[in-house]
Amino acid sequence: MGVICKFPGVKPLLRQTGLALNTLYVVVLCMLPMTSWAELAVIVNPQNPVEDLSAREVTKLFLGRLRMYPGTDLETEVIDQQEDQPAFRDFYHQLVRMNQSKLMRYRASYLFSGQGNLPTELPDEAAVKRYVASHINAIGYIDVSAVDDSVRVIHSVNSK
């Protein structure tokens, strides 16, 4: 039942309506997101000096509002997956809270208002992992099950 706490709104609901009657609903509520969203790891190169990043820092990095790793003089190179990848949808929905069309509009306005470059897009998870493993500036996201020693997890999307 520890999982419940991760979903805001579930605890008050529980308190209001009584545990016994609603345990089933709570379980169902918890299972729906768990089954439809993958658990993602935000990964960097093992040489990257940054210990960890908050959800807001990762969000700002992927939206281009932060262009260097906080507290360092290291530039970021943001690596994205193609839009047809399930991880792409999950990442922006869960962490950045944007659906695809909203993100595309945001990026158009970001790019063409001269704010900076958009992330580098790679075809899939394997390509992202390979790239991050060989570039000290790079940051990407992959399914947690694909993480290995070649990269370091700097933030987990499902365990904020």
Partner: protein, 418 residues
């Protein structure tokens, strides 16, 4: 007078000197450019209004493909880890200045240096960040509507849309929110229809507060401005002829242009995304020196949209109010005490015409817009829109104050980014 507009037309000289300056600045690093990127945005639009006695942005009562059609190309080069250069060239089917249709103009050419994780400095020609959407004004794909709300964006921004100068931006992080701060300084000049405008000193600051999906913005820009129009020369010349009779006529002649006057542009903006709903609202005030040929203007809009799958219906209400300086009418009244009407018929005629000219700049209106955006595919959107204007304030044509007030504009546009 500051119902102003039109992009600064790129003179070859400015372009060359900017380019030379940048090449010079980066010469030692030129060989190191390993990261060039090209991108672009474009709109193919068509529209018409329901009447033939006025025009709106070049639209009349037959379908035209010109006014909302444009193409922008952008190139970015990462020169080193911290230095980059960006240029943008835009070609438009409709211009408020004397640029020929579809003539490419250099919108930006700037170098950017990342000072720290938060701070960045830019030099060159950039967008003037007057209001919430100023910097991506023409990127139709990035907003729900066919064009940004006309009461706020159409006229004011075009000749002030760029400036040559420098800006510094930084970000202050709080526990759950953050603030973008930008300060800038520079100069700009341009033409709006027949007005020549010179903003020879320009300063501004912007504050953008982000909290979850809420953005609040306040921006202020002040610009020392010269404004004059050749179309007023006959009136000025005529007053000069009466100047020997009394100095007030020389003063009247002078009051038909603005020199070295500070104008202030204030803008408050709000953007809020809640689930599939999106609310955008802005309010602006442009404050002139309240003398000579100048005006204050106010306007704003509120826009609500909701995404339903590939469709995003939206509704916008906007308003606009121009308050012309009463300098000219006060001077005319004073001159009538000195030389009362009935003595010199030519002078009476001149004063009458001038009163009419001045009163044309006192105007206000509202707009109501309904539209639908449809995502054609990932990088293209189709929009249909109907906009109702309850006044001729934003129309062009002769004797607007004697014509019926209502206009309906229908527009269709396809926006792409690539």
């Amino acid at each position: 007078m500051v119902r102003t507009g039109s992009t600064v037309k790129v003179s070859g000289a400015i372009y060359r000197s900017l380019l030379c300056a940048m090449l010079y600045a980066f010469h030692p690093a030129l060989h190191a450019i390993d990261n060039f990127s090209f991108s672009g945005f474009g709109s193919l639009g068509m529209g018409k209004i329901n009447r033939d006695d006025v025009k709106f942005m070049g639209y009349d009562d037959s379908w035209s493909f010109r006014s909302d059609t444009m193409l922008g190309l952008q190139a970015q080069a990462d020169i080193s880890d911290r230095w980059s250069a960006t240029t943008q060239i835009v070609s438009r089917g409709f211009n408020f200045d004397d640029t020929s249709d579809f003539e490419p103009t250099l919108e930006w050419l700037f170098a950017s240096y990342q000072v720290s994780p938060e701070a960045r400095i830019r030099f060159g020609r950039m967008r003037t960040p007057l209001y919430l959407l100023s910097e991506s004004l023409e990127v139709g794909y990035s907003y729900p509507w066919v064009r940004p709300p006309v009461d706020t964006y159409t006229f004011l921004l075009t000749s002030l849309s760029n400036f040559n100068g420098v800006d510094l931006s930084t970000n202050v992080d709080f526990a759950n929110s953050d603030l973008d701060i930008q300060v800038f300084a520079g100069a700009s000049q341009g033409k709006y229809i027949d007005f020549d405008l010179d903003f020879y000193a320009l300063f501004g600051a912007n504050f953008k507060y982000h909290w979850n999906s809420l953005t609040l913005r306040y921006g202020v820009t002040i610009a020392k401005t010269d404004a004059s129009s050749a179309s007023l020369d006959p009136i000025i010349d005529a007053y000069q002829q009466f100047a020997p009779l009394d100095p007030i006529f020389a003063e009247l002649a002078d009051s038909h242009s603005t020199e070295g006057a500070w104008f202030q542009y204030h803008g408050l903006g709000l953007q809020w995304d809640y689930g599939h709903w999106s609310l955008i609202a802005e309010q602006y005030a442009t404050l002139g020196p309240n003398e000579d040929f100048a005006n204050d203007s106010y306007g704003g809009y509120i826009s609500l949209s909701r995404q339903i799958g590939r469709f995003t219906p939206y509704a916008v209400i906007g308003y606009y109010k121009n308050v012309f300086s009463d300098d000219i009418s006060t001077l005319i009244t004073q001159s009538e005490a000195i030389i009362p009407p009935g003595n010199i018929p030519q002078l009476d005629g001149l004063r009458k015409i001038d009163q009419q000219v001045a009163s044309q700049f006192d105007e206000d209106g509202r707009t109501y817009t309904l539209g639908l955006r449809y995502e054609l595919f990932t990088q293209a959107a189709l929009k249909l829109e109907v906009e109702y204007f309850d006044s001729n304030a934003l129309m062009s044509g002769d004797d607007l104050d004697q014509k019926p007030d209502e206009t309906v504009l229908t527009s269709i546009v396809i926006d792409v980014v690539f």
